[in-house]
């Protein structure tokens, strides 16, 4: 029989005041630190030969994905299964037309079946908050439109903390399609909360209005953005979202915004390279950098499972009414 061990910090009292996890805007530095600390103990479980603990045995988690996703869905599914929860994957990408009504009614049905946690990804900004408003069961936002992707931001911070030590004072550049990126928004909020210095960098067509109000520096030249930073986070360019005229073509984009060794020479020593994936090699970063030593891209994926285990564990049992 393999060992089955509870995570060491699994105590009944969870000092986390939120009944849903919708956005990093809602989280204080203490909230974030608590989640990251929890994730450390779950990370350790992922390093064992047998990666399963009985923490959420008998608990049902519904993964509702209204948008295609491989990485996030698998990560949540794996996180739930490693905690011994029953995980149901519900994908509704086909019936996206009447999603407004079906979103509410489907979720109410899932809740009525006795689901304990709902993880939702949806193409409409605010969809997770909408569900949280209508359901008593805790809702975890796995990405809503261009609005928020809190578990991604948490796993990015977790990865950074493991690689770089305490977060406060770290300098990070976020580069790419900031306009349409929920990853950028959630990271900007969380990083500022943790006392980090953030720069965003993109052609002006991919910067949202008033983005400086996040308290970040706004750059249009990659050389300026990476100067002296401890980490560079490259965002995926989604050609299908560009409508053909936010920049001339991928070749020109890459010439100006593709991260290379030359850029890293301007950054702090051992600058980490991050990417939420999936990467376009040669567009956001060179083939070489994607695999080389300073890249944390695969560590982000590994961390993702631990962070989501922590989130599922912490959010389970939060009753709204």
């Amino acid at each position: 029989m393999p060992d089955v061990i509870d995570p060491p910090t699994a105590t009944p009292a969870k000092p986390f005041p939120h009944t849903d996890l919708l956005d990093t805007a809602d989280l204080t530095a203490a909230d974030i630190k608590y989640l990251l600390d929890q994730a450390e103990s779950f990370y350790e479980i992922g390093q064992r030969a047998v990666k399963k603990v009985p923490t959420l045995r008998g608990i049902t988690i519904m993964n509702c994905f209204y948008e295609p996703s491989t990485r996030t869905r698998s990560s949540f599914e794996l996180a739930g299964k490693r905690l011994s929860a029953d995980v149901i994957n519900f994908s509704a990408t086909g019936s996206s037309v009447k999603k407004g009504e079906s979103l509410r009614d489907t979720a109410r049905n899932l809740e009525a079946m006795g689901t304990d946690l709902i993880v939702v990804r949806h193409p409409a900004s605010g969809a997770a908050a909408y569900l949280a408003h209508h359901l008593a069961v805790p809702v975890i936002n796995a990405g809503d439109g261009c609005h928020a992707h809190p578990t991604q931001a948490l796993l990015d911070l977790f990865t950074l903390r493991r690689a770089k030590g305490p977060l406060a004072g770290l300098k990070v550049a976020i580069v790419g399609d900031i306009s349409h990126s929920r990853v950028a928004r959630s990271n900007l909020l969380a990083m500022r909360t943790m006392g980090m210095e953030v720069r965003v960098c993109a052609p002006p067509t991919l910067l949202p209005a008033a983005v400086e109000r996040y308290g970040c520096r706004v750059c249009t030249r990659l050389e300026e953005a990476v100067e002296g930073v401890d980490a560079v986070m490259m965002l995926r360019i989604q050609m299908e979202r560009q409508g053909g005229h936010t920049f001339p073509n991928l070749r020109e984009y890459a010439a100006r915004y593709c991260l290379t060794r030359r850029h890293l020479a301007l950054a702090a020593p051992d600058c980490a390279v991050m990417h939420p994936g999936p990467i376009n090699r040669g567009v956001e970063l060179t083939h070489e950098l994607a695999d080389a030593a300073p890249s944390l891209i695969l560590s982000q994926v590994t961390s993702g499972v631990a962070v989501r285990m922590a989130v599922l564990y912490v959010m389970w049992g939060k009753k709204k009414r």
Binding site: G100, A124, G126, G145, P208, A209
Partner: protein, 427 residues
């Protein structure tokens, strides 16, 4: 001996320059005497009340025919009467579209049972598609008072030019929903920090301004009066002001939400704050407010746009644009007097003689011989807006539970009392 005498009130009739305590006599449904001593078979004591011409809303959506679950001509008219309005102009985005005279006839037939006057606005183009002209002449002959593709901008400038040119002999205004669809880019709220923060697609001011600019030039080219609906931007205000200074027949209206609310205050993803044009920045809101006060914007119009709860209770992207406004307009407009130094007589003008002049209607004044459409309101009554107890069928409003100051107390149409203090008066 007159039919009815309204005594002890403060009469405000901007068109006739009256703003003083004054009695009003009505006989045979018409104004019979203004001021002096008079006796009536019936007397209405207006102590503490303002007596003014019936309010005119030149921009409402009554949803009939086709979407009667949101509103219909009768329910919308009752909401209007309760808000102090005696004339309302429904926009043509019905189902079927009000682009032919059979729809006009249906609307006017339904309006016979309505407590207030319904003066429909016909479509400019067939199906509001912006391609082929609607049956403009027949619509005019059947009773349409203006033409508009409201809800959509006419994208093709040549179609707009021809529509305006064709309408010149009719001497009625073309009302524009200024919106360039390319620049609008499927936006759902104002472009700015709040949209960025919520990850919602923004709508830039330019999407509105370029159409206002284009259509002012077409007004100059064709000579047809242009009226800009629900003006929301400071750039648009500036364009309208400069066109008026050049002597062009260009007018504009603004909605209470655009002179009171901004995108920055919007509660996260609250679809009761979703309308088109969207709530803009504080600078835009202030420019619209100043333009109402100085008269550049001659009319306050509600853009009353009812939607059912199941339609509005959706993720923000998917919810329809628009809010109701007939029963909250007067108290919200009175904030301009209370908080922004506007003269009450000017405010009453924006709700009466202003819209009447834009549409060329013989209404909105209390001259002897005029139809006795009269509104009485208490400018100081405090009340809490409760959409459970109002007359519209819909409840899509950001003002639910809001404390209002000022309220219509009596609404008379053709000298007949149709609404009195919270209740419709049976015919």
């Amino acid at each position: 001996m007159y039919d009815l005498v309204i005594k002890n009130g403060h009469l405000i009739d901007p068109a006739n320059g009256i703003d003083r305590p004054c009695a009003l006599a009505i006989t045979g449904g018409r104004i019979a005497q203004v001021g002096g001593t008079m006796e009536g078979r019936e007397t209405l004591d207006a102590t503490g009340l303002i007596v003014c011409p019936g309010l005119i809303d030149l921009h409402v959506h009554l949803r009939e025919p086709g979407q009667e679950w949101k509103e219909d001509i009768l329910s919308g008219s009752r909401a209007a009467a309760a808000g102090g309005f005696t004339t309302i102009c429904p926009m043509p985005n019905t189902a079927p579209t009000h682009d032919n005279a059979s729809v006009t006839r249906l609307m006017l037939k339904r309006a016979e049972a309505a407590p207030v006057r319904v003066r429909p606005i016909g479509a400019l183009t067939r199906g509001l598609k912006g391609e082929v002209l609607a049956d403009l002449g027949e619509l005019f002959d059947t009773g349409c008072v203006a033409f508009s593709d409201d809800g959509r901008g006419v994208q093709d400038g040549l179609v707009m030019r021809h529509a305006m040119e064709y309408l010149r002999p009719f001497r009625v205004p073309v009302i524009i929903h200024a919106q360039d669809d390319c620049l609008f880019d499927h936006g759902v709220m104002n472009e700015g920090w709040r949209a960025t923060e919520l990850g919602l697609r923004g709508i830039c001011n330019a999407a509105e301004d370029v159409h206002i600019d284009r259509d002012i030039r077409l007004c100059e080219l064709t000579g047809t009066p242009l009226h800009v609906a629900h003006l929301s931007t400071r750039g648009g205000v500036d364009l309208v002001r400069r066109a008026q200074a050049r002597g062009l027949s260009v007018s504009a209206e603004a909605a209470p939400h655009h002179f009171l609310l901004t995108d920055e205050e919007m509660p996260a993803f609250d679809t009761h704050w979703k309308m088109s044009p969207p709530l803009r920045s504080p600078a835009d809101r202030d420019a619209v407010r100043a333009a109402i006060i100085d008269g550049t914007i001659a009319a306050i119009a509600t853009d009353h746009a009812p939607h059912a709860p199941e339609e509005k209770e959706r993720p923000f992207d998917e919810a329809p644009f628009g809010i109701i406004g007939l029963e909250t307009c007067l108290p919200l407009a009175l904030t301009l007097v209370r908080d922004h130094g506007m003269a009450l007589v000017d405010l009453v003008a924006r709700l009466t003689s202003g819209p009447a002049a834009i549409l060329g209607l013989d209404a909105g004044h209390l001259g002897v011989g005029a139809a006795a459409d009269v509104t009485l309101f208490d400018p100081d009554e405090r009340w809490i807006y409760d959409s459970e107890r109002h007359f519209s069928k819909s409840r899509n409003t950001p003002w639910e539970g809001h404390t209002m100051v000022g309220r219509a107390t009596h609404t008379l149409v053709d000298g007949r009392l149709v609404y009195r203090r919270g209740e419709m008066v049976a015919a």
